[in-house]
Amino acid sequence: MTARDPGLQPERTLLAWLRTLLAMGVNDCLVIRAGWMGGHGSLTIAGALLFTMTVGLTFLALSRAIQLHTVSPTAPKCSLMSLASSACAITCTGGVWALIC
């Protein structure tokens, strides 16, 4: 297989990651807001923890972007993807808690 110009593929992938993490951050803020407005301290703390998790995932996404841009464009490791989907599921759990409160 001849070498291909990666073109804008890595950039589009990075932007997809950032959009996703932004959506996750918005949900974290909604959970924090629900805890704050409702006076549920533990829910507010849970929202803050969710936000911290999203920030951590952002660093992983950035290292993935660096890998795509400088090392080689390959498929991501399954650990990164399972982390991302678990983070989303955990955010959903926080959302359910906000709904119950």
């Binding site: 949900n27 909604l30 959903c92 359910v96």
Partner: protein, 152 residues
């Protein structure tokens, strides 16, 4: 009794971390490959990376969709005024939020199945998520219409 040797072979495959083709040949459905084979990312051959990256972006799009549904559920619960009984809207929003968690797990499974199929030059597996998603959006739409008609 005839199934016993097959089950034994399958267990050997699982113990060795063999690829899913061997399991499929023994009659296991494709979707059974979750957590069977830890080294699937090394089996087969690397596909054209553009397809891998497109698969990654599709996964992210599913995750975003799940998050958007979740945000919709939380916002509905927070801004709803005058939808009675309030418990009903909380239960509805809660169900939608649980479904969005299921979508995020399904997104990972789908990404993994697509990646395995591409590594082995197979056609992509059928997507149960898509009709599921359409049904969910349809149900939410009908629910919203009912609420609007009753309370509008």
């Amino acid at each position: 009794v005839a199934a016993l040797p097959q089950a034994e072979k399958a267990l050997c495959c699982i113990a060795k971390g063999a690829d899913t083709d061997a399991l499929h040949a023994l009659g296991f459905p494709r979707t059974w490959n979750m957590a069977v084979n830890e080294h699937w990312q090394k089996s087969g051959k690397d596909p054209d990376y553009r397809y891998s990256l497109a698969n990654e972006r599709t996964f992210l799009a599913w995750i975003r969709t799940a998050l958007a549904i979740l945000a919709g559920a939380i916002l509905l619960h927070q801004v709803q005024t005058g939808i009675h009984p309030i418990r009903l809207s909380a239960i509805g929003s809660g169900c939608v939020a649980v479904i969005s968690a299921a979508i995020s797990m399904g997104a990972y499974h789908r990404w993994r199945s697509n990646e395995i199929a591409m590594r082995h030059d197979k056609s992509l597996p059928s997507a149960i998520l898509i009709p599921f998603m359409s049904a969910l959006v349809g149900l939410v739409g009908v629910g919203a219409a009912v609420v609007l008609l009753l309370h509008g």
